[in-house]
Each structure stands twice: as structure tokens, then as C-alpha cells.
Symmetry: C2
Subunit: 337 residues, 2 copies
């Protein structure tokens, strides 16, 4: 790998997208994934890095390499129950970055044939940036609503023991030139932010976690012993519960009998079932244009549209390369060796 420049001196390094992809593939090969699998996982992580989400980007190479599940046996990702419009997929203990990529491909294939697809995935983990899968599906011309639940980190409203994952929900709508994508977690803070704050002994923001006694805490270690709060009070709690419940339809409880486990659901449909697809794209572009040109509050420079900045960043970094912390880069190099 060639470092293009070193803008931050010894602490940073600029890496091209091609080099980052090749390096990431090597790390995944070392972790035991095949060439094809490694390419898919690496492209997924690289994309998060390019889009400006470093916590879900190349740093995850280390997370995956270190996760005990990566060293446990894998079975091929397989459809255990299928119909022309649906697939229940056993992820075979594959990392979500691979299993969900396959699931999105299967959803697209079925939606192309039937204009609707319902796909559930279980027995997988670490799905990364869920916006990626709904983008794949939206670029194929379909609307996608995607939910992902996981092992418990988040307390229900009023609880002091966690019951839900950080449970993201993502929407993808086909658009012109780009789809409209929105992806959000339903927790007040991500689990990895709490882990990082704990490692650095930094305080958490107010109102994002409780300790093991159920009392509000800004101590990250105490929060790990207690739980993260849902975002947005009872609304975030309700959303989180529904996402956990939808995961049951994805077979979350099948591999280990636990109703609080990983479950990924894709609900996909052709908007052309209702309105002509080109008309839908035009109307969506008009809505985005109107929202973006809303008169602004004092001091606000721009009304932002979800996903637009990620697409811009991706285009820029594909051309210019990306800045990585030297320490991260060195760790990845070590894993690839």
C-alpha cells in the first residue's frame, strides 16, 4: 500500500480507495473468509469509511478479527424457508456485513420477479452500516424498510436491565440521480460510543444511560453494567420494541431460543405497484428540492437531506483517498501480514 501524502504528519496517513480495499480484503482473508466473501466484506467497510462513518469503517476490520464469533465455525449462508416472494435466511454465523449483503441481493432478485420481497436473516452479527443494504435495494428501483435487532444493550422505559439492541431502522427510496436513504439507531447513544468512552475514561452525555441500580449515569463503565436509554423517550422505546419484535419474524429466536438476539428484516416493494416509477422519482426530487429550499432559522447554513452528504463524501474520497489515523492503519497492516 502506498500512502499518498501525510497531511497530519506522523499521526495520519492518506490512503487511496483501491489500496484500502486490497488491504481490507487481505485482513478478511487472514480472518478465514474466502476471496469472494472477503471482497464483499471489505467493500462494505470501505464504503462506510468513504461515506464518512469511520466507526463503521476500516476500524471494524479489527472488531471482526477480534470477535470470538469470527473464530467459531461457519456454515454457508442459506435459505431455510423460501417462497417466490420471501426468504428466511440462516446467516450460518457469518458476519452480517456478508450475510446481509447476500440477503439484499436475494431481496432484489425476488422483488424483480414478484415486485415484493420479504427477507429475514438470523444467526449473524455485526451488520455495519445498514444504509448500505437499503441503498443497494433502492438503486435497484425498490423501496426498502429494513430493521435490525440484536442482543440487549438498551433498557426499556423505566427499566434498569437491558432488553433491546440499539435496533436501527433504515429506509431507502429510489430517486434520481441518487436514492433517498435514512438510517437511524433507536438508542440514545451507540454501544461502541459507550465502550470507547469507557476505554478513554471520558464522561457520557447527560441522559443517555443508567447504571446497574437504574440511576442516571454519565460514567461509561457504570453504563456498561446498567444499560443505554432509548432515544426520544417513549417514542424511541416503542420503536425499539417493535424492531425487536419484527426481528422475531426474521427468525431471531431460532438459533439459540432467545427472543432478544440478532434478527434482520427487509421489507421490499416496487413503488410502481402504486404509481409509475419515473413519476415517483420526479415527485421525490421535487419534495427534496422543496425541503432543501425551506427558509432557514437564523444561523443555519443549510437544510440537510439525509444521505446527500454521505454520497458527496464518497465521491470526493474515491478521488482523493481517505485520511486514516496512523495507529489504526498500523494495526490493520499488522492484521494483514
Amino acid at each position: 500500500m502506498i500512502a499518498l501524502t501525510e497531511p497530519g504528519g506522523a499521526n495520519e496517513i492518506v490512503v487511496s480507495a483501491d489500496d484500502a480495499l486490497a488491504l481490507s480484503e487481505r485482513v478478511m482473508r487472514r480472518a478465514g473468509y474466502s476471496e469472494d466473501e472477503s471482497r464483499i466484506i471489505a467493500a462494505n467497510l470501505l464504503d462506510a469509511e468513504l461515506c464518512g462513518y469511520p466507526a463503521l469503517g476500516l476500524a471494524r476490520l479489527i472488531t471482526i478479527a477480534e470477535d470470538p464469533r469470527t473464530r467459531q465455525p461457519r456454515n454457508p449462508v442459506s435459505v431455510v424457508h423460501g417462497t417466490p416472494v420471501s426468504a428466511l435466511i440462516d446467516g450460518g454465523n457469518y458476519v452480517g456485513l456478508y450475510a446481509l449483503h447476500r440477503a439484499a441481493e436475494i431481496a432484489i432478485e425476488k422483488a424483480r420477479a414478484s415486485r415484493f420481497a420479504l427477507v429475514g436473516v438470523h444467526n449473524s452479527y455485526l451488520s455495519g452500516r445498514n444504509a448500505r443494504y437499503v441503498e443497494m435495494i433502492a438503486r435497484a428501483g425498490f423501496v426498502c424498510i429494513h430493521t435490525a435487532c440484536s442482543e440487549p444493550y438498551v433498557v426499556p422505559l423505566g427499566g434498569k436491565v437491558s432488553a433491546f439492541g440499539t435496533n436501527p431502522i433504515a429506509f431507502g427510496l429510489p430517486g434520481d440521480p441518487d436514492p433517498l436513504i435514512f438510517d437511524m439507531g433507536t438508542s440514545a447513544i451507540t454501544h461502541s460510543e459507550v465502550v470507547l468512552a469507557s476505554r478513554l475514561s471520558e464522561p457520557l452525555p447527560e441522559g443517555v444511560a443508567v447504571d446497574a441500580q437504574g440511576l442516571p449515569t454519565r460514567d461509561a463503565a457504570a453504563a456498561l453494567a446498567g444499560g443505554i436509554l432509548p432515544f426520544g423517550g417513549h417514542k424511541g422505546y416503542g420503536l425499539s420494541l417493535m424492531i425487536q419484535a419484527l426481528g422475531l419474524a426474521a427468525g431471531a429466536a431460532l438459533p439459540r431460543g432467545r427472543v432478544q438476539d440478532f434478527g434482520f428484516l427487509f421489507v421490499v416493494f416496487d413503488p410502481g405497484l402504486l404509481v409509475p416509477p419515473e413519476q415517483f422519482k420526479q415527485l421525490l426530487a421535487e419534495l427534496i428540492r422543496q425541503v432543501k429550499s425551506t427558509p432557514r432559522q437564523p444561523g443555519v447554513e443549510e437544510i440537510r437531506i439525509p444521505s446527500q452528504r454521505a454520497f458527496q463524501e464518497r465521491r470526493r474520497r474515491c478521488l482523493e483517498g481517505m485520511v486514516l489515523e496512523r495507529r489504526l492503519y498500523d494495526s490493520i497492516i499488522a492484521l494483514a501480514a
Copy 2:
């Protein structure tokens, strides 16, 4: 109509469910709806009242009777574009309480035949408590994700002019004995709460609205000239935008060419496409049981599950009748005369 008792003296009256239904039907007949239509609208409003949502209950009889759209001509609610799995429905300027009831029936019919249904409704208004429609669909054995967008009341993040409706999203999952239902708006406060505060000259809570200059305000009249904020910062904003965009697939822009208008979408599927329906219900019951029995924070009496209290209240009020404000009751009686 017989008032059973008068617990609050002259200011309140207890009315039985049967009497409230008959009275509500008469009001809707007076407003120009047919017998069948009146029965459906009345049952819908009564249900909201029984479930403990008076703002969406019998008080809405007055809102409907006074809405200028109620006096405008109506055409039959009709499917303008249909496939075996989908229906684009022109609400014919019918109140949403009727048009969406019909849409939910059509969604159930199609899902029974095809295990999936996509139904969009436009050219309608005032849909009431959206939990009702997803409950109908969930009790028929199907999962439902329902979104509803409307004319603008809510500003985008950083904006000072409204761009979105209060844009609820509702989820319904079949369960045993009851489905699991969750319904939330994506605005920080409802439009009717702002209207009420304005009439009573009461201050709004902090952080729910901006004035016409885009500055935070607690003055309800100023908020009506400016806009309501989305709930939960950028997450509520993103959800609100996606719901407005999904309304375009429901044909929101078709009747009047406006991309910021009423659009109601139902995405319905049989969870049995993925896992056996009885197993799904059992797993859902187990999840609810586990969440409900989560150890509680100090001072918290109960971990609440969305929809459970509404079902309890409905059962109780069906037996015991409901308490109405005398002033509301008198206004309704006047409309029925």
C-alpha cells in the same frame, strides 16, 4: 341518550358505548354521510374514546362537522390502480376515518389472497388514530407498517417554514391474545395541542416550536405562524421526511399536484412467509413477558407495553361507559339534532 350517572356533577356525564355510538352515527348522518359510512366513522371515533384518546375521540365529531372539506363534494372511495397485491385508492374527499377503514379492509383481503399487500390512499384527510387500522390488520393475522403524511405543520431541521405533516408511523404485529400495536407522531407536539394552547392562551412546552422568524417560541399563536419541530432532533426529522416521501407512493401529489399533502401507506405481510404464525405469536408473547418483567428503575411501578393500556381501557369503558365533558356532550347533542 341516557346518562348513566353524573360523577363530576354538572361538568361531566357518563355515557354508555352503545349510546355514544348511536349519537355519533346521527351526527355523521347530519354531516351528509350515508348510514354505512356513518357507522364506520362513528365506531372509529368511539374506539379512540374508549381506548383513552379523547383528542381523537368524540370531540372529532365537531372537527369533522366543521371542516370545510366535509361540505365539499365527495366521490366514492375507489381503487384507481390495482394489482392482486396492491391498490392505489382515491379517497374521493372522504374523511380518512372512512377511507382508511376501507383501505385496511382491502389490504386484509389482498393479504389473505397473496400474503402481501401494498395499499396507498390519497385525496382524504383526518385519519384519526392510526393504531385502529393496524390493529384491524394485525387481528387478521398480518404484520402492518403504516405511514401517514399530511399538509405541512412541521419544520425540517434548521427550517423556519413547515414542510411536513405531523406524520405518524404505526406498527401492528399479530399476537395472542392481543396484537402488539405502536403508533407515534414524528412531531414534538401535535397540531391540535398547539391549536388548543393558542385558544386557551397557555404556553407550549420548551423546545417544541419556532416562530415565523425561526426562533424558539413557547407562544402557541407564534408557533402557528411558524412551525412545530420534529421530535427527537435529526432522527425525528429524518423519519418525518421519509414518511412524507412514502406518501408520494400513496399518491399524495396526485389530486392537487402538491408533494406536501395527505398520503397514507399500508405495507402488509403475512409473518408466516418466514416463520410459522403460531410460533411467531408465541415468541412475541415471550418477548413481551420478558420486557414487562425487566427489573425497574427506582420509583417506576410498571414497564409499560404499547397498546396494552388502550386495550384494558377499552374493555373497562365498554362495560362501565365513558366520562365525557358536559360541554362536549352538549355540543355533540346539538350537532345531532
